[in-house]
């Protein structure tokens, strides 16, 4: 491992691409699990490239705003965001098309991760499933429709529509209701049951707290938050609803005209490598998008792992969200929040 790293470093040096010690790469990432990323990704990469990585974190809105504000002279070289945010940035002309030839490890990804938005502007590096977490000692959840059923009335929380999980939940509720006419009728159905819903949460950490305080006994959530529930003293279970699990992907993007493309590609490719994706998966941080990653059954059970699981995910196209979000939020505010 150490040898391969030093060999890589050596080959970089001989290729004449690296070694300028003052080279820096500025990345914009989600703020969670930074210690793990440092160990699995940043530190080894700095050794390979002989460069410094500057990590910027924050919530998606802040990070997007920063990329937009510095469009003329980008301070961020690459960012990891949701597929919807990537599409928004692409439509605003703030990110550059990705050159597949500069990302050899892209070939190892699941097909749906290679170009999630179909515009060649992003590449998926992790998948997440979304399902319902519930108190197995109090209730049994077999369908997304159970969220609005009588057993959970007054004891269920839903994600707010403004987050990533909100539209996913509505999509799956629609599936359970046999609704094919988009999310509008589903929002109305949630509105009719609004009094039965304890609250609409914005962050998964909020939900972890609500469930531990026993304010709610079931709620939809992304698999990335599962470890917080698995470690809790209360008996929480992950539902396998009849309609399947919802899912999404986080992607990497390259800001337009940042002048640091070569280093950014090198970093992105390293992140997509089997070696790094395995390390990050073993730390239970991100589920791999690289199909060559092999992990133990125990690790796999805590991730969104394997072709069968990933190919079965119900993914909401980013364009649907970006095109309709404003209308959804308006209807949600009128009929659900009131």
């Amino acid at each position: 491992m150490k040898l391969s790293l030093s060999l890589l470093a050596l080959s970089c040096a001989m290729g004449g691409t690296a070694m300028a010690a003052d080279r820096t790469l500025t990345i914009s990432v989600y703020s969670f699990a930074q210690d793990e990323y440092k160990k699995a990704l940043y530190d080894p990469f700095e050794e390979i490239c002989g460069c410094d990585i500057v990590v910027e974190t924050g919530n998606s809105v802040e990070r997007m705003a920063k990329i937009e504000a510095n469009a003329a002279n980008p301070v961020i070289d690459m960012a990891v965001i949701s597929t919807q945010d990537a599409l928004s940035l692409a439509r605003k002309g703030l990110i550059a098309p990705l050159d597949a030839a500069s990302l050899p490890n892209m070939a190892k990804l699941y097909d749906s991760a290679k170009d999630p938005n179909g515009d060649g502007m992003s590449v998926g590096y992790t998948y997440y499933a979304s399902s319902i977490v519930y108190r197995s000692d109090l209730v049994q959840v077999d369908s997304w429709g159970d969220l609005l059923g009588p057993d959970l009335a007054g004891q269920v929380a839903l994600p707010n529509i403004t987050g990533t999980q909100g539209p996913l939940t509505l999509m799956m509720l629609g599936k359970a209701m046999g609704e094919t006419g988009g999310l509008a009728p589903v929002i109305s159905a949630v509105g009719e049951k609004a009094d039965d819903i304890v609250t609409f949460y914005s962050r998964s950490s909020e939900l972890v707290q609500l469930m531990n305080q026993q304010e709610v006994i079931a709620a939809p959530v992304g698999r990335f938050a599962w470890s917080s529930f698995a470690d809790a003293p209360l008996p929480f279970a992950w539902a396998e609803p009849a309609e399947g699990q919802a899912g999404g992907m986080n992607v990497m993007v390259m800001t337009k005209g940042n002048g640091n493309e070569e280093l950014a590609y090198q970093f992105m490719d390293y992140w997509l490598s089997t070696e790094v994706q395995t390390r990050i998966a073993e730390m239970l941080v991100d589920s791999p998008a690289n199909k060559e990653v092999v992990v133990s059954d125990e690790i796999a059970a805590n991730l969104t792992y394997g072709a069968d699981v990933i190919n079965a995910l119900n993914i909401l196209p980013a364009a649907d969200v970006v095109d309709n979000r404003e209308a959804w939020v308006e209807q949600w505010n009128t009929e659900v929040i009131r």
């Binding site: 809105v61 007054g154 819903i197 304890v198 914005s202």
Partner: protein, 273 residues
């Protein structure tokens, strides 16, 4: 005090520069966004904000809860302050200390305590189900009642402190004198105590009302997204929808509400004196 105004000005200059550069200018720039949503100056941002039913609901709810909290704090505050000023010096210090104590505890901790009390497994619900008043726990959290209680508890000490200092300045004999002359307690309150403590009521009222309007943590934790207040809505506009125009509109509304409350209360206080 100063030999000339120049000396006075020189002394005040550093503070003035500091607050102008680091407070007034950035706040001014931020707030001006609300008046030029599309580049040119207009009130369109405000019209748009108030055209949405949810925003109107949130505005009215914030105003209502602010008034309710300030009103209730005044009623409880007068009773408490009256008791405190009539205590002996030793117990007065002790009770006053107990009133001030919550102010030294973080609002986050104080608000979380309400979750323990109002939650499904909390004390109140334990009593309700224990006494057989209801089979299932009653929903208390994420309601306006919870936000009201949280805000009241948060800001009541400010009202009590203001009223205690005002009442301490009432001459010792005026209340007994009024009573001896046959005034009922109600008349004593409205004709003697209230006029003599108006200043304290104005200060306490302004502090509590503006505090209730601008508190974020308490409505966020006890109300959540189902009981949005202007502050929690503002947070959503900035951090969820990146809508700085609406956020500036809300900030401006909050500032106007706070200043109006203060002016109105001052006017009431000076109306008959």
């Amino acid at each position: 005090m100063f030999r000339n105004t120049r000396e006075g000005l020189a002394l005040v200059l550093p503070a003035a520069i500091f607050s102008t550069l680091l407070f007034l200018v950035p706040v001014g720039i931020l707030l001006s966004e609300a008046f030029r949503p599309s580049g040119s100056w207009s009130l369109a941002g405000y019209a748009e904000f108030f055209s949405e039913p949810l925003n109107r609901t949130v505005f009215l709810r914030t105003l209502k809860l602010g008034l309710l909290v300030a009103g209730t704090a005044a009623v409880i505050g007068y009773a408490a302050a009256f008791c405190i000023v009539n205590l002996g010096p030793k117990s007065r210090g002790r009770v006053f200390g107990m009133v001030v104590l919550p102010l030294m505890i973080s609002p986050v901790a104080r608000t979380y305590a309400w979750i323990v009390i109002l939650g499904r497994t909390g004390i109140v619900n334990g009593a309700i189900t224990g006494l057989g008043l209801s089979d299932t726990p009653v929903r208390l959290l994420f309601t306006e009642t919870a936000v009201f209680l949280g805000l009241l508890q948060l800001f009541l000490p400010l009202m009590i402190i203001s009223l205690v200092s005002a009442m301490e300045n009432i001459p010792r004999d005026v209340i007994p004198a009024a009573r001896v002359l046959g005034a009922s307690w109600l008349a004593v309150f409205f004709k003697v105590i209230l006029p003599l403590t108006r200043e304290g009521l104005v200060i306490g009222g302004t502090l509590v009302f503006t505090g209730a309007l601008t508190a974020y943590i308490t409505p966020a934790i006890l109300g959540g997204s189902k009981v949005l207040m202007l502050e929690t809505l503002l947070y959503q506009k900035v951090n969820v929808s990146n809508d700085f125009v609406s956020a500036s509109v809300i900030a401006m509304i909050l500032i106007v509400m706070s200043f109006s409350a203060n002016l109105l209360l001052k006017r009431i206080a000076t109306a008959r004196s």
